[in-house]
């Protein structure tokens, strides 16, 4: 009876997962040797996986195969370019790494225009909400209009809070900005509250893994 259970407990995949989970959880009580062990294991595994998948998912498919299999010889230029990164380690060649970093700064910056137009302008457009409506106004319509008013007011308060160039000393601006902060806090509270379930569900799932999948306590209970 006991032997198969022991065998199950010691199955490498399960055992490693379970002990690892316990080790990580132990951090909430205090940093300890077991946590430290699995932290280092974790970092080692993650880096190794990252390195291997950089080859299998990026370099091999996007570089090596096109170059060697499809014969696009120009790709070899990537090597000297890639080498430039490593200038960072020497004073003499540091500027070369800055040059290649510069290229990436440029690439990162260049995409902003399209992103702004496609992501944010629609949100500007979506803020054109009617504040009035032709009578007769139904009960439902009234609610919609009221919400549109609230929408515009909150939007203004918060935007004004985020003005930096103008010292907020005129009482009106001060109050609006203060209101803006309060609105923000309400929003933050809402996000905090709505996140809890997902987070706790995950913790519950891990505890289930330990108690039911690994220890199989339910077998002992009935």
């Amino acid at each position: 009876m006991m032997a198969p259970y022991l065998h199950h407990l010691l199955m490498p995949k399960l055992l490693l997962g379970a002990v690892g989970t316990i080790a990580i959880f132990s951090l909430v009580f205090r940093e300890n040797k077991l946590y430290r062990l699995f932290e280092h294991l974790f970092l080692g595994l993650a880096t190794g996986y990252g390195l291997a998948t950089t080859w299998t998912q990026v370099l091999r498919t996007k570089w090596w195969d096109p170059m060697v299999v499809q014969g696009e010889w120009i790709w070899i230029l990537v090597i000297p370019l890639g080498l430039m990164f490593y200038g960072v380690y020497t004073k003499k060649y540091a500027w070369m790494s800055r040059m290649i970093f510069g290229l990436y700064f440029g690439l990162a910056a260049g995409t902003v225009f399209q992103a702004f137009a496609s992501e944010y302008v629609p949100q500007i457009r979506a803020s054109f909400k009617p504040l009035f409506s032709a009578p007769p106004i139904s009960h439902h319509q009234f609610g919609v209009l009221a919400n549109n008013w609230i929408f515009l007011i909150i939007l203004m308060c918060v935007l004004i809070y985020f003005l930096f160039a103008f010292e907020q000393n005129s009482p009106v601006v001060k109050r609006t900005a203060a209101a803006g902060r309060v609105m923000l806090m309400i929003a933050f509270g809402a996000i905090f509250g709505s996140t809890i379930m997902t987070r706790e569900a995950l913790l519950i799932d891990r505890v289930r893994f330990l108690l039911l999948d690994w220890l199989q306590i339910n077998h002992f209970l009935h």
Partner: protein, 288 residues
Amino acid sequence: MNDTVWNKLQSIDPRVLYVVLLVIIAAPMLFPGMTLPIVPGQQSKDAFATIQKLGAQKPAKLVLLDGVWSASTRGESAWQTQAIMLQLMRLRIPFAIMSADPQNPQLMENLADALARKNNYVYGRDYINFGYQVAYTQTLKGIVRDIKGTLKTDWTGKPLAGFAIMANVNSIKDVGAIAEITPSSTLDSWLGLVTQIYHTPLIYVPTAVMAPEGYPFRDSGQIAGIVIGVKGAGDYESLMGVKLEGTQVSTALSLVYALIIFLVILGNIGYHGSRLAAKNASNREKAI
């Protein structure tokens, strides 16, 4: 002054809280019988009713379950998926699994297979798995017109045409409802590309965090119902009159929430108690 009851109340050692939390979470697993009654929310009821309606018409149209979740949100998404699959099987509604995450097909298949054994559902006849779709947007655009042509094979690579379940399923017209089981914002593409065309009912099955994205569309009638997180799964089970993981986890969740609110109250009592105490102390000094 620091060891007054007030200060104790507002500075409980976090480690104590963590132990209590673990106990509360473990309790429903140690005593599976112990479940709190569930009051299903309106959102879940709407979703449930939508599928019940499909079951009423014979032959029932295929329901498409689109899974975007991976192991990292299993704690919520798996139980939502299980609850919906169970309802479908009880109503003998055929369903297809489609995935927008490489891990997802296996996870959904495991759930489906486990339930299928108990409800004599047969793969290929009563349910099928389309597998992971890489070019997601193109796939959605494609299945609107031609499902078999777009997806070609099931997740094992067998041609769809060979499966009995696909006999009368050609375009999205032949799909009775779509359930979007997701931990991320994938709703817009379904609303934009698929459901609006033949007004296929869409059931939104998000993790609790993502639920708000659905509300505006529910009000505008573009979504038939929302099954919110693990609570939604619990609602669903109570509507079916069963008690599975969804109910168990919801129970644990209710307890955790109760704990948090209890702690918040304690903390505030302590905080204001100590302030009052301090005030009185200083007043007394003045009197002397």
